[in-house]
Amino acid sequence: MRRPYSETLLRKIDELASRYPKKEAALIPVLRLVQEEAGCLSPDEEEFVAQTLGLKRMRVREVITFYTMLTRRPLGKYHIQVCANLSCSLLGSATLLEYLQKKLGIGVGETSADRKFTLTPVECLGACDQAPCMMVNTEYHGNLDPEEIDRILAGLD
């Protein structure tokens, strides 16, 4: 759905684009900013970014589908990503993932009906000394157990 983008975003995009000899180099940071504001990267967002950076929409789509953090579909308000890699698995991330599924009432890869939570696995977050870890939007949470998870979820409005 076409919507006007905020002044802040537009200014930030201009600033980003000015950092590189070719403004198309700003594509990925710009896509992340646009996604943050728009919720996801729909064809409208692709069109906007393509025009702003002087790119064909096909090139924008190619990039969006390559990177894990860029999404074409809207996610819940809180995107909970549980690390499924080795150090976290060694410390029981599989159990935590099951716990979260039960607690939130959704399966892996799904979004809750009230659009509040999306639950996905994620590759190594780079916080292995605090395994098992999860990321809620951009916040890291480590040394998790069911109680800690309950506490974190309670703090999310």
Binding site: R19, I28, R32, L90, C124, D129, E139
Partner: protein, 413 residues
């Protein structure tokens, strides 16, 4: 170990604050370097035998020296802060706790090579770290240790933070360049090498965060000091990151050459209660696995290579006897299949095929020749791919299947 150049002051509050950093003698290295000539600075780093801390271990000074000084046009420094190698978290700590140390390294490296624009390519998941870096850059700009005419030396340098968006392959230097240019992270053919044709086709140096963070101490204390911190061919300390079934997971700054056993049993507190050691991955998930009998090994590039593994990112993952090797194999296979960029055939198809087989084994439908098939496929990937991710997938899988074959075969019909 008293001279912990990297992690000294890690615990100090607000070291990322410019005032605090300056009050602790920060940016003295930059001041000193800017009074030397660029070739002299380069010479110091070369003599120090500073090898890359990202995984490949290529000598930094030699890499800097590859940049042609006689070509017109810009040159670039890309700081590899993608840190995607599973088990690795050292760069995150440096950037979070001591970002100015990294910035100092960036300034000195750029000065040595004649670079005026540096991009810190930071993985998308490290959002809070990116913000910390940006604040540090703002602080440095304010105090003129970045930007135009740094400390009155006439040397200009812009440093920008560039966020990624979730792709392990972008830790590979040419894929990083592609991503920085706004494209899919597809590694490039080499030659030409980035030092000659890199970012935006200009000569480019790409260095890991930890590598650059070692440069200030080399300038302040001299290359001989640095070499003495480690080994003659592997100067300095490493930030070993220990995780897994140990009592004290965390970062340990120790000399290169420290024994792996010492690292695990003394520094990381040994196995967790009730756990016995089965296997160790010594250098990030891409490093071939070691059995519990193989940990009396000095942690340096050559010793680990000689043992059929690699120092890699220095990320030590400790596995206990209760953990099925099939799980380790499955996680490894899934990771590389998920992260393969898909550009070249052996990796694209091979990692997916191996993952399918291991998944089938995990579901109890493994067949008697599956291990042989996996070994064959991994061997066919090895050496035949466009970038090192192929080997990074193949070598650990080969080592797990070879060294723990009998355990894995228990899962087959």
């Amino acid at each position: 170990m008293d001279d912990k150049a990297l992690t000294r002051n890690f615990g100090a509050a607000d070291l990322h604050d410019m005032e605090v950093y300056l009050s602790r003698g920060g940016y003295a290295a930059v001041g000193k370097a800017l009074k030397m000539t660029p070739p002299d600075v380069l010479g110091e780093v070369k003599k120090a035998n500073l090898r890359g801390r990202g995984g490949a271990g290529f000598p930094a000074g030699v890499k800097w020296g590859f940049v042609p000084q006689n070509l017109p046009g810009p040159r670039y420094l890309c700081v590899n802060a993608d840190e995607g190698e599973p088990g690795t978290f050292k760069d995150r700590y440096i950037m979070l706790h001591n970002p100015h140390l990294l910035l100092e390294g960036i300034v000195i490296a750029s000065y040595a090579v004649g670079i005026h624009t540096a991009y810190i390519y930071i993985r998308g998941e490290y959002e809070n770290v990116a913000r910390r870096l940006e604040a540090a850059i703002a602080g440095a700009l304010q105090k003129n240790t970045l930007g135009k005419n740094i400390l009155g030396s006439g040397f200009d340098l812009d440093v920008f933070v560039h966020r990624g968006a979730g792709a392990y392959i972008c830790g590979e230097e040419t894929a990083l360049l592609e991503s920085l240019e706004g494209k899919r992270g597809h590694p490039r053919l080499k030659p030409p090498f980035p030092a000659v044709v890199g970012l935006f086709d200009a000569p480019t140096v790409i260095n890991n965060v930890e590598t650059l963070s070692n440069v200030p101490a080399i300038i302040l204390n001299g290359p001989d000091w640095f070499v003495k911190q480690g080994l003659p061919k592997d100067g300095g300390t490493r930030l070993f990151g220990v995780s897994g079934k140990v009592k004290k997971p965390g970062i340990y700054e120790l000399p290169l050459g420290t024994s792996l056993r010492t690292l695990i049993e003394e520094h990381a507190g040994g196995m967790k209660d009730g756990c016995a050691l089965k296997a160790v991955i010594p250098g990030g998930l891409s490093a071939p696995i070691l059995t519990s009998e193989e940990i009396d090994l000095p942690m340096d590039f050559d010793s680990l290579a000689g043992a059929g593994s690699m120092l890699g990112s220095g990320a030590v993952i400790v596995i206990d006897r209760e953990t099925p090797m099939l799980d380790v194999l499955r996680i490894t296979a899934k990771f590389y299949a998920h992260e393969s960029c898909g550009q070249c055939t052996p990796c694209r198809v091979g990692t997916a095929w191996i993952h399918k087989i291991v998944t089938r084994m995990s579901e109890g439908r493994g067949e008697h020749d599956d291990i042989d098939t996996i070994l064959r496929l991994a061997s066919n990937i090895k050496g035949n791919t466009e970038c090192p991710l192929g080997d990074a997938a193949a070598l650990p899988i080969l080592s797990i299947c070879n060294k723990f074959r009998s355990e894995l075969e228990q899962n087959l019909r």
